[in-house]
Symmetry: C2
Subunit: 332 residues, 2 copies
Protein backbone atom coordinates (compact mmCIF):
# COMPACT_ATOMS: atom_id res chain seq x y z
CA UNK A 1 0.00 0.00 0.00
CA UNK A 2 1.44 3.41 -0.87
CA UNK A 3 2.37 5.37 2.21
CA UNK A 4 1.79 9.05 2.80
CA UNK A 5 5.00 11.07 2.57
CA UNK A 6 4.23 13.15 5.66
CA UNK A 7 3.33 10.09 7.72
CA UNK A 8 6.57 8.43 6.63
CA UNK A 9 8.64 11.41 7.70
CA UNK A 10 6.83 11.80 11.00
CA UNK A 11 6.89 8.12 11.86
CA UNK A 12 10.30 6.94 10.67
CA UNK A 13 12.63 9.86 10.08
CA UNK A 14 11.62 12.53 12.59
CA UNK A 15 12.66 10.28 15.52
CA UNK A 16 16.17 10.17 14.00
CA UNK A 17 16.40 13.95 13.75
CA UNK A 18 17.13 14.76 17.36
CA UNK A 19 19.33 17.81 16.81
CA UNK A 20 17.56 21.07 17.67
CA UNK A 21 18.41 22.59 14.27
CA UNK A 22 16.60 19.74 12.50
CA UNK A 23 13.32 21.13 13.84
CA UNK A 24 11.94 17.60 14.02
CA UNK A 25 11.90 17.53 10.19
CA UNK A 26 8.63 19.43 10.10
CA UNK A 27 10.16 22.57 8.62
CA UNK A 28 11.38 23.37 5.11
CA UNK A 29 14.94 23.85 6.23
CA UNK A 30 17.34 23.07 9.02
CA UNK A 31 19.44 25.50 11.00
CA UNK A 32 23.06 24.46 11.39
CA UNK A 33 25.20 26.23 13.97
CA UNK A 34 28.59 26.56 12.34
CA UNK A 35 31.75 28.20 13.51
CA UNK A 36 34.66 28.31 11.12
CA UNK A 37 35.16 25.89 8.28
CA UNK A 38 32.75 23.16 7.25
CA UNK A 39 33.71 20.34 4.92
CA UNK A 40 30.77 19.61 2.61
CA UNK A 41 30.38 16.59 0.35
CA UNK A 42 27.53 15.13 -1.69
CA UNK A 43 27.30 11.60 -3.04
CA UNK A 44 24.23 9.90 -4.45
CA UNK A 45 23.76 6.15 -4.88
CA UNK A 46 21.47 4.63 -7.50
CA UNK A 47 19.88 1.16 -7.54
CA UNK A 48 21.51 -0.94 -10.25
CA UNK A 49 24.56 1.36 -10.38
CA UNK A 50 25.91 1.62 -6.82
CA UNK A 51 23.91 -1.13 -5.16
CA UNK A 52 21.94 -4.14 -6.30
CA UNK A 53 18.13 -4.25 -6.42
CA UNK A 54 18.08 -7.23 -4.05
CA UNK A 55 20.45 -5.73 -1.46
CA UNK A 56 18.77 -5.57 1.96
CA UNK A 57 17.24 -2.10 2.26
CA UNK A 58 18.89 -1.33 5.61
CA UNK A 59 22.29 -1.84 3.94
CA UNK A 60 21.29 0.59 1.18
CA UNK A 61 20.71 3.29 3.81
CA UNK A 62 24.06 2.51 5.43
CA UNK A 63 25.90 2.56 2.12
CA UNK A 64 24.33 5.91 1.17
CA UNK A 65 25.59 7.38 4.43
CA UNK A 66 28.98 5.70 4.46
CA UNK A 67 30.04 6.71 0.95
CA UNK A 68 29.72 10.26 2.23
CA UNK A 69 31.49 9.58 5.54
CA UNK A 70 34.31 8.14 3.46
CA UNK A 71 34.79 11.51 1.73
CA UNK A 72 34.82 13.33 5.06
CA UNK A 73 37.32 10.90 6.58
CA UNK A 74 39.63 11.28 3.57
CA UNK A 75 39.51 15.04 4.13
CA UNK A 76 40.43 14.63 7.80
CA UNK A 77 37.00 15.78 8.98
CA UNK A 78 34.68 14.54 11.72
CA UNK A 79 31.11 14.01 10.48
CA UNK A 80 28.56 16.37 12.04
CA UNK A 81 25.32 16.09 10.13
CA UNK A 82 23.63 15.03 6.92
CA UNK A 83 20.64 15.95 4.82
CA UNK A 84 18.91 13.16 2.92
CA UNK A 85 16.99 13.15 -0.36
CA UNK A 86 15.17 9.84 -0.51
CA UNK A 87 13.83 9.19 -4.01
CA UNK A 88 11.59 6.16 -3.66
CA UNK A 89 10.38 4.01 -6.59
CA UNK A 90 6.66 3.77 -7.25
CA UNK A 91 7.06 -0.01 -7.60
CA UNK A 92 8.98 -0.65 -4.36
CA UNK A 93 6.88 -1.56 -1.29
CA UNK A 94 6.60 1.40 1.05
CA UNK A 95 6.80 -1.06 3.96
CA UNK A 96 10.56 -1.20 3.28
CA UNK A 97 10.93 2.44 4.29
CA UNK A 98 10.76 1.44 7.95
CA UNK A 99 13.76 -0.85 7.47
CA UNK A 100 15.59 1.82 5.51
CA UNK A 101 15.08 4.27 8.37
CA UNK A 102 16.14 1.66 10.93
CA UNK A 103 19.40 1.03 9.08
CA UNK A 104 20.02 4.74 8.72
CA UNK A 105 19.27 5.32 12.39
CA UNK A 106 21.69 2.58 13.47
CA UNK A 107 24.48 4.20 11.49
CA UNK A 108 23.65 7.76 12.57
CA UNK A 109 23.91 6.57 16.17
CA UNK A 110 27.05 4.52 15.53
CA UNK A 111 28.88 7.43 13.90
CA UNK A 112 27.23 10.12 16.08
CA UNK A 113 25.92 12.05 13.07
CA UNK A 114 22.79 14.24 13.09
CA UNK A 115 20.04 13.92 10.52
CA UNK A 116 19.35 17.58 9.81
CA UNK A 117 16.72 17.46 7.09
CA UNK A 118 16.03 16.50 3.52
CA UNK A 119 13.13 15.50 1.40
CA UNK A 120 11.32 12.48 0.07
CA UNK A 121 9.87 12.10 -3.39
CA UNK A 122 8.58 9.36 -5.62
CA UNK A 123 10.19 8.23 -8.86
CA UNK A 124 9.13 5.97 -11.72
CA UNK A 125 12.78 4.88 -11.81
CA UNK A 126 15.28 3.18 -9.53
CA UNK A 127 15.71 3.89 -5.83
CA UNK A 128 18.09 6.83 -5.49
CA UNK A 129 19.53 8.14 -2.25
CA UNK A 130 21.33 11.49 -2.34
CA UNK A 131 23.06 12.59 0.85
CA UNK A 132 24.94 15.78 1.58
CA UNK A 133 27.25 15.48 4.58
CA UNK A 134 28.89 18.14 6.72
CA UNK A 135 32.08 17.67 8.66
CA UNK A 136 34.34 19.62 10.97
CA UNK A 137 38.01 19.65 9.96
CA UNK A 138 40.12 17.93 12.62
CA UNK A 139 43.25 19.89 11.78
CA UNK A 140 44.29 23.22 10.31
CA UNK A 141 44.51 21.75 6.79
CA UNK A 142 41.87 19.96 4.71
CA UNK A 143 44.10 17.75 2.52
CA UNK A 144 43.31 18.04 -1.18
CA UNK A 145 44.06 15.70 -4.06
CA UNK A 146 46.53 18.26 -5.33
CA UNK A 147 48.79 18.34 -2.27
CA UNK A 148 51.17 15.44 -3.05
CA UNK A 149 54.91 16.12 -3.47
CA UNK A 150 57.77 14.01 -4.79
CA UNK A 151 59.37 11.90 -2.04
CA UNK A 152 56.20 11.41 0.01
CA UNK A 153 54.99 7.94 0.89
CA UNK A 154 51.63 6.52 -0.21
CA UNK A 155 49.29 4.96 2.35
CA UNK A 156 45.92 3.30 2.21
CA UNK A 157 43.47 2.41 4.98
CA UNK A 158 41.53 -0.84 5.26
CA UNK A 159 41.51 -3.46 2.51
CA UNK A 160 41.22 -3.15 -1.25
CA UNK A 161 39.22 -5.26 -3.69
CA UNK A 162 36.81 -7.03 -1.34
CA UNK A 163 33.83 -4.93 -2.40
CA UNK A 164 34.63 -5.75 -6.03
CA UNK A 165 34.55 -9.46 -5.23
CA UNK A 166 31.29 -8.96 -3.38
CA UNK A 167 29.77 -7.24 -6.39
CA UNK A 168 30.79 -10.10 -8.70
CA UNK A 169 29.51 -12.87 -6.45
CA UNK A 170 25.83 -12.80 -7.37
CA UNK A 171 26.72 -13.48 -11.01
CA UNK A 172 29.71 -15.78 -10.40
CA UNK A 173 30.53 -18.93 -8.52
CA UNK A 174 32.11 -18.42 -5.08
CA UNK A 175 35.01 -20.48 -6.42
CA UNK A 176 36.25 -17.44 -8.33
CA UNK A 177 37.43 -16.17 -4.97
CA UNK A 178 40.26 -18.65 -5.01
CA UNK A 179 41.42 -22.18 -4.46
CA UNK A 180 40.64 -22.28 -0.75
CA UNK A 181 38.60 -25.13 0.75
CA UNK A 182 34.85 -24.80 0.50
CA UNK A 183 34.17 -23.57 4.03
CA UNK A 184 36.85 -20.92 3.71
CA UNK A 185 35.35 -19.76 0.43
CA UNK A 186 31.98 -19.40 2.08
CA UNK A 187 33.42 -17.17 4.78
CA UNK A 188 35.19 -15.05 2.17
CA UNK A 189 32.07 -14.82 0.05
CA UNK A 190 29.91 -13.67 2.94
CA UNK A 191 32.50 -11.11 3.96
CA UNK A 192 33.03 -9.80 0.43
CA UNK A 193 29.32 -9.41 -0.14
CA UNK A 194 29.03 -7.55 3.16
CA UNK A 195 31.91 -5.22 2.21
CA UNK A 196 30.17 -4.33 -1.05
CA UNK A 197 26.90 -3.62 0.69
CA UNK A 198 28.23 -1.91 3.79
CA UNK A 199 31.54 -0.08 3.28
CA UNK A 200 33.86 0.43 6.25
CA UNK A 201 35.11 4.00 5.81
CA UNK A 202 38.08 4.96 8.02
CA UNK A 203 36.09 7.44 10.13
CA UNK A 204 38.13 6.62 13.23
CA UNK A 205 41.34 7.47 11.37
CA UNK A 206 40.22 10.94 10.21
CA UNK A 207 42.15 12.76 12.91
CA UNK A 208 45.38 11.02 11.86
CA UNK A 209 44.69 11.94 8.23
CA UNK A 210 44.19 15.55 9.28
CA UNK A 211 47.49 15.45 11.14
CA UNK A 212 49.73 13.52 8.75
CA UNK A 213 48.26 13.46 5.25
CA UNK A 214 49.62 15.76 2.56
CA UNK A 215 47.31 14.75 -0.33
CA UNK A 216 44.25 12.56 0.32
CA UNK A 217 41.32 11.08 -1.58
CA UNK A 218 38.72 8.45 -0.89
CA UNK A 219 39.04 5.26 -2.92
CA UNK A 220 35.67 4.87 -4.61
CA UNK A 221 36.46 4.42 -8.30
CA UNK A 222 39.28 1.90 -7.75
CA UNK A 223 42.71 2.25 -6.17
CA UNK A 224 44.50 2.90 -9.47
CA UNK A 225 41.92 5.37 -10.79
CA UNK A 226 41.93 7.35 -7.57
CA UNK A 227 45.73 7.29 -7.35
CA UNK A 228 45.67 8.72 -10.89
CA UNK A 229 43.57 11.62 -9.62
CA UNK A 230 46.18 12.46 -6.97
CA UNK A 231 48.93 12.16 -9.59
CA UNK A 232 47.12 14.37 -12.11
CA UNK A 233 46.09 17.02 -9.57
CA UNK A 234 49.54 17.11 -7.97
CA UNK A 235 51.60 16.98 -11.16
CA UNK A 236 53.54 13.92 -10.03
CA UNK A 237 53.76 10.16 -10.53
CA UNK A 238 52.45 7.56 -8.10
CA UNK A 239 54.21 4.22 -7.67
CA UNK A 240 52.22 1.38 -6.07
CA UNK A 241 53.94 -1.75 -4.72
CA UNK A 242 51.52 -4.50 -5.72
CA UNK A 243 52.64 -6.79 -2.93
CA UNK A 244 52.05 -4.14 -0.29
CA UNK A 245 48.38 -3.53 -1.08
CA UNK A 246 46.31 -5.07 1.71
CA UNK A 247 43.89 -7.51 0.07
CA UNK A 248 42.65 -9.74 2.90
CA UNK A 249 39.88 -11.77 1.22
CA UNK A 250 41.26 -10.93 -2.21
CA UNK A 251 44.58 -12.68 -1.63
CA UNK A 252 43.22 -16.10 -2.64
CA UNK A 253 41.69 -14.50 -5.73
CA UNK A 254 45.12 -13.20 -6.75
CA UNK A 255 46.67 -16.62 -6.06
CA UNK A 256 44.19 -18.09 -8.49
CA UNK A 257 44.04 -15.37 -11.17
CA UNK A 258 47.53 -13.87 -11.04
CA UNK A 259 48.42 -10.37 -12.17
CA UNK A 260 45.20 -9.97 -14.16
CA UNK A 261 43.20 -10.81 -11.03
CA UNK A 262 45.24 -8.33 -9.00
CA UNK A 263 44.51 -5.59 -11.53
CA UNK A 264 40.80 -6.32 -11.27
CA UNK A 265 40.97 -5.82 -7.50
CA UNK A 266 43.00 -2.62 -7.80
CA UNK A 267 40.56 -1.22 -10.38
CA UNK A 268 37.31 -2.54 -9.01
CA UNK A 269 36.12 0.37 -6.93
CA UNK A 270 33.62 0.60 -4.07
CA UNK A 271 36.41 0.32 -1.51
CA UNK A 272 35.59 3.57 0.34
CA UNK A 273 38.95 3.72 2.04
CA UNK A 274 41.37 6.64 2.26
CA UNK A 275 44.42 6.89 0.00
CA UNK A 276 46.87 9.52 1.19
CA UNK A 277 50.44 10.68 0.92
CA UNK A 278 52.62 11.66 3.87
CA UNK A 279 56.17 12.73 4.52
CA UNK A 280 58.54 9.81 5.24
CA UNK A 281 59.27 11.21 8.72
CA UNK A 282 55.59 10.73 9.66
CA UNK A 283 55.80 6.98 9.14
CA UNK A 284 56.28 5.99 12.75
CA UNK A 285 53.49 8.23 13.98
CA UNK A 286 51.09 6.95 11.32
CA UNK A 287 51.77 3.36 12.31
CA UNK A 288 51.37 4.22 15.99
CA UNK A 289 48.08 6.02 15.31
CA UNK A 290 46.79 3.08 13.29
CA UNK A 291 47.65 0.70 16.10
CA UNK A 292 46.06 2.91 18.75
CA UNK A 293 42.87 3.30 16.70
CA UNK A 294 42.82 -0.34 15.56
CA UNK A 295 42.63 0.72 11.93
CA UNK A 296 44.53 -1.20 9.26
CA UNK A 297 46.84 1.21 7.43
CA UNK A 298 49.44 0.10 4.90
CA UNK A 299 52.37 1.81 3.23
CA UNK A 300 51.88 0.88 -0.43
CA UNK A 301 54.11 3.14 -2.51
CA UNK A 302 55.42 6.64 -3.01
CA UNK A 303 55.26 9.84 -5.01
CA UNK A 304 57.87 10.26 -7.75
CA UNK A 305 58.80 12.62 -10.55
CA UNK A 306 56.67 12.19 -13.64
CA UNK A 307 53.01 11.52 -14.26
CA UNK A 308 50.45 8.73 -13.94
CA UNK A 309 50.39 5.55 -11.88
CA UNK A 310 52.88 2.69 -12.05
CA UNK A 311 52.14 -0.62 -10.32
CA UNK A 312 55.29 -2.67 -9.66
CA UNK A 313 55.91 -6.23 -8.48
CA UNK A 314 58.35 -7.43 -5.82
CA UNK A 315 61.27 -7.15 -8.24
CA UNK A 316 60.35 -3.58 -9.16
CA UNK A 317 59.01 -4.65 -12.57
CA UNK A 318 56.00 -2.72 -13.88
CA UNK A 319 52.75 -4.66 -14.08
CA UNK A 320 50.70 -3.43 -17.06
CA UNK A 321 47.81 -1.22 -15.91
CA UNK A 322 44.57 -1.61 -17.87
CA UNK A 323 43.97 1.44 -20.05
CA UNK A 324 40.74 2.94 -18.86
CA UNK A 325 40.51 2.38 -15.13
CA UNK A 326 37.07 3.23 -13.88
CA UNK A 327 35.91 6.17 -16.02
CA UNK A 328 32.22 6.82 -15.57
CA UNK A 329 30.23 7.56 -18.68
CA UNK A 330 27.20 9.81 -18.74
CA UNK A 331 24.35 9.70 -21.22
CA UNK A 332 24.38 8.44 -24.75
CA UNK B 1 28.08 9.58 -27.64
CA UNK B 2 28.49 8.98 -23.90
CA UNK B 3 30.64 11.58 -22.25
CA UNK B 4 33.30 11.01 -19.65
CA UNK B 5 32.20 12.15 -16.19
CA UNK B 6 35.50 13.84 -15.38
CA UNK B 7 35.59 15.67 -18.71
CA UNK B 8 32.01 16.85 -18.12
CA UNK B 9 32.86 18.22 -14.70
CA UNK B 10 36.05 19.88 -15.90
CA UNK B 11 34.50 21.37 -19.02
CA UNK B 12 31.05 22.46 -17.91
CA UNK B 13 30.78 22.62 -14.14
CA UNK B 14 34.25 23.61 -12.90
CA UNK B 15 33.98 27.02 -14.63
CA UNK B 16 30.84 27.66 -12.54
CA UNK B 17 32.58 26.79 -9.28
CA UNK B 18 34.53 29.98 -8.77
CA UNK B 19 34.45 30.08 -4.96
CA UNK B 20 37.81 29.18 -3.40
CA UNK B 21 36.20 26.54 -1.18
CA UNK B 22 34.87 24.69 -4.22
CA UNK B 23 38.46 23.75 -5.11
CA UNK B 24 37.56 23.89 -8.79
CA UNK B 25 35.43 20.75 -8.27
CA UNK B 26 38.50 18.52 -8.50
CA UNK B 27 38.37 17.48 -4.87
CA UNK B 28 36.08 15.10 -2.98
CA UNK B 29 34.67 17.83 -0.80
CA UNK B 30 34.26 21.56 -0.55
CA UNK B 31 35.30 23.80 2.30
CA UNK B 32 32.64 26.27 3.37
CA UNK B 33 33.65 29.19 5.58
CA UNK B 34 30.76 29.61 7.98
CA UNK B 35 30.27 31.89 10.91
CA UNK B 36 27.13 31.48 12.95
CA UNK B 37 23.94 29.94 11.70
CA UNK B 38 23.46 28.34 8.30
CA UNK B 39 20.05 27.51 6.89
CA UNK B 40 20.26 24.20 5.02
CA UNK B 41 17.65 22.76 2.68
CA UNK B 42 17.57 19.86 0.23
CA UNK B 43 15.09 19.35 -2.58
CA UNK B 44 15.35 16.90 -5.45
CA UNK B 45 13.42 17.06 -8.71
CA UNK B 46 12.63 14.00 -10.81
CA UNK B 47 11.77 13.81 -14.52
CA UNK B 48 8.12 12.89 -14.92
CA UNK B 49 7.32 13.94 -11.35
CA UNK B 50 8.56 17.54 -10.95
CA UNK B 51 9.27 18.38 -14.56
CA UNK B 52 8.30 17.00 -17.95
CA UNK B 53 10.61 14.90 -20.10
CA UNK B 54 10.35 17.42 -22.94
CA UNK B 55 11.05 20.50 -20.81
CA UNK B 56 14.11 22.38 -22.12
CA UNK B 57 17.10 21.12 -20.19
CA UNK B 58 18.30 24.58 -19.16
CA UNK B 59 14.94 25.13 -17.44
CA UNK B 60 15.37 21.84 -15.57
CA UNK B 61 18.62 23.15 -14.11
CA UNK B 62 16.95 26.42 -13.13
CA UNK B 63 13.97 24.67 -11.57
CA UNK B 64 16.26 22.38 -9.54
CA UNK B 65 18.03 25.43 -8.15
CA UNK B 66 14.97 27.60 -7.65
CA UNK B 67 12.90 25.08 -5.69
CA UNK B 68 15.72 25.23 -3.16
CA UNK B 69 16.05 29.03 -3.26
CA UNK B 70 12.33 29.12 -2.55
CA UNK B 71 12.87 27.27 0.73
CA UNK B 72 15.66 29.64 1.73
CA UNK B 73 13.58 32.72 0.88
CA UNK B 74 10.66 31.42 2.94
CA UNK B 75 13.06 31.03 5.86
CA UNK B 76 14.29 34.63 5.47
CA UNK B 77 17.74 33.52 4.34
CA UNK B 78 20.04 34.79 1.60
CA UNK B 79 21.37 31.98 -0.61
CA UNK B 80 25.12 31.42 -0.33
CA UNK B 81 26.00 28.17 -2.04
CA UNK B 82 24.75 24.86 -3.34
CA UNK B 83 26.00 21.34 -3.91
CA UNK B 84 24.57 19.42 -6.85
CA UNK B 85 23.98 15.71 -7.40
CA UNK B 86 23.31 15.29 -11.10
CA UNK B 87 21.88 11.84 -11.83
CA UNK B 88 21.89 11.55 -15.60
CA UNK B 89 19.90 8.93 -17.58
CA UNK B 90 21.79 6.45 -19.73
CA UNK B 91 19.34 7.15 -22.54
CA UNK B 92 19.55 10.97 -22.54
CA UNK B 93 22.08 12.56 -24.90
CA UNK B 94 25.14 13.73 -23.01
CA UNK B 95 25.29 16.72 -25.35
CA UNK B 96 22.43 18.21 -23.29
CA UNK B 97 24.70 18.50 -20.26
CA UNK B 98 26.29 21.60 -21.74
CA UNK B 99 22.88 23.28 -21.88
CA UNK B 100 22.05 22.10 -18.38
CA UNK B 101 25.27 23.68 -17.11
CA UNK B 102 24.60 26.88 -19.05
CA UNK B 103 21.15 27.23 -17.47
CA UNK B 104 22.55 26.51 -14.04
CA UNK B 105 25.36 29.00 -14.57
CA UNK B 106 22.93 31.73 -15.62
CA UNK B 107 20.92 31.27 -12.45
CA UNK B 108 23.96 30.99 -10.16
CA UNK B 109 25.12 34.33 -11.55
CA UNK B 110 21.66 35.89 -11.39
CA UNK B 111 21.16 34.94 -7.75
CA UNK B 112 24.84 35.29 -6.80
CA UNK B 113 25.07 31.73 -5.47
CA UNK B 114 28.26 29.63 -5.42
CA UNK B 115 28.44 26.10 -6.79
CA UNK B 116 30.46 24.40 -4.06
CA UNK B 117 30.57 20.81 -5.20
CA UNK B 118 28.55 17.70 -5.79
CA UNK B 119 28.69 14.61 -7.88
CA UNK B 120 27.50 13.17 -11.15
CA UNK B 121 26.33 9.64 -11.72
CA UNK B 122 24.46 7.68 -14.33
CA UNK B 123 21.04 6.11 -13.87
CA UNK B 124 18.94 3.65 -15.86
CA UNK B 125 15.96 5.76 -14.73
CA UNK B 126 14.70 9.32 -15.10
CA UNK B 127 16.85 12.43 -14.86
CA UNK B 128 17.08 13.40 -11.18
CA UNK B 129 18.65 16.55 -9.82
CA UNK B 130 19.23 16.74 -6.07
CA UNK B 131 20.46 20.06 -4.72
CA UNK B 132 21.37 21.01 -1.17
CA UNK B 133 21.39 24.78 -0.61
CA UNK B 134 22.95 26.86 2.15
CA UNK B 135 21.72 30.26 3.21
CA UNK B 136 22.59 32.97 5.69
CA UNK B 137 19.70 34.08 7.91
CA UNK B 138 18.87 37.74 7.25
CA UNK B 139 17.45 38.34 10.70
CA UNK B 140 17.77 37.00 14.23
CA UNK B 141 14.90 34.55 13.69
CA UNK B 142 14.50 31.78 11.10
CA UNK B 143 10.69 31.61 10.86
CA UNK B 144 9.32 28.09 11.24
CA UNK B 145 6.00 26.62 10.18
CA UNK B 146 5.09 26.36 13.84
CA UNK B 147 5.37 30.06 14.68
CA UNK B 148 1.85 31.27 13.76
CA UNK B 149 -0.40 32.78 16.44
CA UNK B 150 -4.08 33.65 16.48
CA UNK B 151 -4.72 37.18 15.23
CA UNK B 152 -1.87 37.28 12.75
CA UNK B 153 -2.47 38.06 9.10
CA UNK B 154 -1.67 35.65 6.25
CA UNK B 155 0.39 36.84 3.29
CA UNK B 156 1.59 35.26 0.07
CA UNK B 157 4.21 36.41 -2.43
CA UNK B 158 3.86 36.26 -6.21
CA UNK B 159 0.97 34.51 -7.95
CA UNK B 160 -0.75 31.22 -7.26
CA UNK B 161 -1.93 28.58 -9.72
CA UNK B 162 -0.06 29.57 -12.85
CA UNK B 163 2.40 26.69 -12.62
CA UNK B 164 -0.54 24.31 -12.28
CA UNK B 165 -2.04 25.67 -15.49
CA UNK B 166 1.34 25.36 -17.16
CA UNK B 167 1.59 21.72 -16.13
CA UNK B 168 -1.87 20.95 -17.54
CA UNK B 169 -1.30 22.65 -20.86
CA UNK B 170 0.58 19.93 -22.70
CA UNK B 171 -2.33 17.56 -22.19
CA UNK B 172 -5.14 20.10 -22.50
CA UNK B 173 -6.34 22.72 -24.94
CA UNK B 174 -5.19 26.28 -24.18
CA UNK B 175 -8.89 27.15 -24.08
CA UNK B 176 -9.11 25.63 -20.59
CA UNK B 177 -7.35 28.75 -19.42
CA UNK B 178 -10.54 30.74 -19.86
CA UNK B 179 -12.87 32.54 -22.19
CA UNK B 180 -10.41 35.21 -23.28
CA UNK B 181 -9.79 35.92 -26.96
CA UNK B 182 -7.36 33.62 -28.74
CA UNK B 183 -4.32 35.89 -28.67
CA UNK B 184 -4.79 36.55 -24.98
CA UNK B 185 -4.99 32.80 -24.35
CA UNK B 186 -1.73 32.29 -26.19
CA UNK B 187 0.02 34.83 -23.99
CA UNK B 188 -1.41 33.23 -20.87
CA UNK B 189 -0.44 29.76 -22.07
CA UNK B 190 3.14 30.74 -22.77
CA UNK B 191 3.43 32.46 -19.41
CA UNK B 192 1.85 29.57 -17.49
CA UNK B 193 4.14 27.03 -19.12
CA UNK B 194 7.12 29.22 -18.30
CA UNK B 195 6.01 29.53 -14.65
CA UNK B 196 5.80 25.73 -14.36
CA UNK B 197 9.25 25.28 -15.86
CA UNK B 198 11.02 28.20 -14.20
CA UNK B 199 9.59 29.16 -10.80
CA UNK B 200 10.01 32.72 -9.56
CA UNK B 201 10.87 32.30 -5.87
CA UNK B 202 10.71 35.51 -3.79
CA UNK B 203 14.46 35.68 -3.19
CA UNK B 204 14.42 39.47 -3.22
CA UNK B 205 11.80 39.48 -0.45
CA UNK B 206 13.75 37.23 1.94
CA UNK B 207 14.96 40.13 4.08
CA UNK B 208 11.38 41.33 4.60
CA UNK B 209 10.31 37.79 5.54
CA UNK B 210 13.16 37.66 8.05
CA UNK B 211 12.00 40.97 9.51
CA UNK B 212 8.23 40.59 9.54
CA UNK B 213 7.22 36.93 9.22
CA UNK B 214 6.11 34.97 12.27
CA UNK B 215 5.45 31.58 10.62
CA UNK B 216 6.59 30.95 7.04
CA UNK B 217 6.64 28.13 4.50
CA UNK B 218 7.28 27.84 0.79
CA UNK B 219 4.25 26.97 -1.32
CA UNK B 220 5.28 23.88 -3.23
CA UNK B 221 2.49 21.36 -2.59
CA UNK B 222 -0.36 23.82 -3.17
CA UNK B 223 -1.51 26.87 -1.24
CA UNK B 224 -4.11 24.99 0.78
CA UNK B 225 -1.86 22.03 1.60
CA UNK B 226 0.97 24.29 2.72
CA UNK B 227 -1.39 26.49 4.74
CA UNK B 228 -2.53 23.28 6.42
CA UNK B 229 1.06 22.60 7.44
CA UNK B 230 1.30 26.00 9.16
CA UNK B 231 -2.05 25.38 10.84
CA UNK B 232 -1.08 21.91 12.05
CA UNK B 233 2.39 22.90 13.23
CA UNK B 234 1.10 26.04 14.98
CA UNK B 235 -2.04 24.53 16.51
CA UNK B 236 -4.32 27.13 14.91
CA UNK B 237 -6.74 27.58 12.02
CA UNK B 238 -5.96 29.40 8.78
CA UNK B 239 -8.66 31.37 6.95
CA UNK B 240 -8.03 32.20 3.28
CA UNK B 241 -10.06 34.86 1.43
CA UNK B 242 -10.54 33.29 -1.98
CA UNK B 243 -10.95 36.66 -3.68
CA UNK B 244 -7.71 37.98 -2.24
CA UNK B 245 -5.46 35.23 -3.63
CA UNK B 246 -3.42 36.74 -6.49
CA UNK B 247 -4.09 34.60 -9.56
CA UNK B 248 -2.94 36.72 -12.53
CA UNK B 249 -3.18 34.27 -15.44
CA UNK B 250 -5.47 32.02 -13.45
CA UNK B 251 -8.23 34.63 -13.15
CA UNK B 252 -9.72 33.76 -16.53
CA UNK B 253 -9.59 30.06 -15.58
CA UNK B 254 -11.66 30.79 -12.46
CA UNK B 255 -14.10 32.89 -14.53
CA UNK B 256 -14.63 29.86 -16.72
CA UNK B 257 -14.56 27.04 -14.16
CA UNK B 258 -15.92 28.71 -11.02
CA UNK B 259 -15.23 27.54 -7.48
CA UNK B 260 -14.03 24.12 -8.61
CA UNK B 261 -11.49 25.78 -10.88
CA UNK B 262 -10.36 28.03 -8.05
CA UNK B 263 -9.79 25.00 -5.82
CA UNK B 264 -7.67 23.40 -8.50
CA UNK B 265 -5.45 26.49 -8.60
CA UNK B 266 -5.20 26.67 -4.81
CA UNK B 267 -4.31 22.97 -4.61
CA UNK B 268 -2.17 22.63 -7.72
CA UNK B 269 1.30 23.11 -6.31
CA UNK B 270 4.59 24.09 -7.94
CA UNK B 271 4.06 27.75 -7.03
CA UNK B 272 7.34 28.16 -5.11
CA UNK B 273 6.19 31.32 -3.39
CA UNK B 274 6.34 32.20 0.31
CA UNK B 275 3.27 31.91 2.54
CA UNK B 276 3.76 33.66 5.86
CA UNK B 277 1.95 35.11 8.82
CA UNK B 278 2.69 38.50 10.38
CA UNK B 279 1.35 40.71 13.10
CA UNK B 280 -1.33 43.15 11.89
CA UNK B 281 0.83 46.12 12.91
CA UNK B 282 3.47 45.01 10.35
CA UNK B 283 1.03 45.46 7.48
CA UNK B 284 2.19 48.91 6.35
CA UNK B 285 5.84 47.96 6.46
CA UNK B 286 5.25 44.75 4.51
CA UNK B 287 3.42 46.67 1.78
CA UNK B 288 6.16 49.29 1.69
CA UNK B 289 8.87 46.61 1.45
CA UNK B 290 7.01 44.85 -1.35
CA UNK B 291 6.73 48.12 -3.26
CA UNK B 292 10.38 48.99 -2.75
CA UNK B 293 11.51 45.54 -3.88
CA UNK B 294 8.95 45.31 -6.70
CA UNK B 295 7.65 42.01 -5.36
CA UNK B 296 3.95 41.21 -5.46
CA UNK B 297 2.74 40.46 -1.95
CA UNK B 298 -0.90 39.99 -1.01
CA UNK B 299 -2.78 39.84 2.27
CA UNK B 300 -4.97 36.76 1.80
CA UNK B 301 -6.31 35.77 5.22
CA UNK B 302 -5.55 35.36 8.87
CA UNK B 303 -4.85 32.98 11.73
CA UNK B 304 -7.79 32.04 13.95
CA UNK B 305 -8.66 29.76 16.82
CA UNK B 306 -9.23 26.17 15.78
CA UNK B 307 -7.57 23.85 13.31
CA UNK B 308 -7.26 23.31 9.57
CA UNK B 309 -7.80 25.61 6.60
CA UNK B 310 -11.03 27.37 5.65
CA UNK B 311 -11.39 29.07 2.26
CA UNK B 312 -14.14 31.71 2.22
CA UNK B 313 -15.81 33.74 -0.54
CA UNK B 314 -16.55 37.48 -0.58
CA UNK B 315 -19.59 36.98 1.64
CA UNK B 316 -17.58 34.99 4.18
CA UNK B 317 -19.19 31.70 3.12
CA UNK B 318 -16.93 28.62 3.24
CA UNK B 319 -16.01 27.12 -0.12
CA UNK B 320 -15.67 23.34 0.23
CA UNK B 321 -12.00 22.30 0.27
CA UNK B 322 -11.19 19.03 -1.51
CA UNK B 323 -10.36 16.33 1.01
CA UNK B 324 -6.83 15.28 0.26
CA UNK B 325 -4.96 18.33 -0.96
CA UNK B 326 -1.62 17.37 -2.37
CA UNK B 327 -0.45 14.42 -0.28
CA UNK B 328 2.51 12.68 -1.84
CA UNK B 329 2.45 8.89 -1.87
CA UNK B 330 5.55 6.78 -1.69
CA UNK B 331 5.95 3.23 -2.96
CA UNK B 332 3.29 0.60 -3.43
Amino acid sequence: MPADEFDIIARYFAPLATAAGARGLIDDAAVLEASGRLVVTADAIVEGVHFLPADPIDTVAKKALRVNLSDLAAKGARPIGVVLSLIWPDHRPSAQIADFARGLGEDLAFYDVALLGGDTTSTPGPLTVAITAFGAPLGPRVPARADASVGEQLWVTGYIGEAYLGLMLPTSEPAILGAAPEDQIDVLAVQARERYRVPQPPVAFAAAIAEFACASIDVSDGLIADAEKIAAASGAAIRIDADAVPLLGGAAFVDKHGAAGLMRLLSGGDDYQALFTAKPESRGQIIAAARALEVNVALIGDVAEGAGVRVVDARGQAIPVPASGHRHKLGR
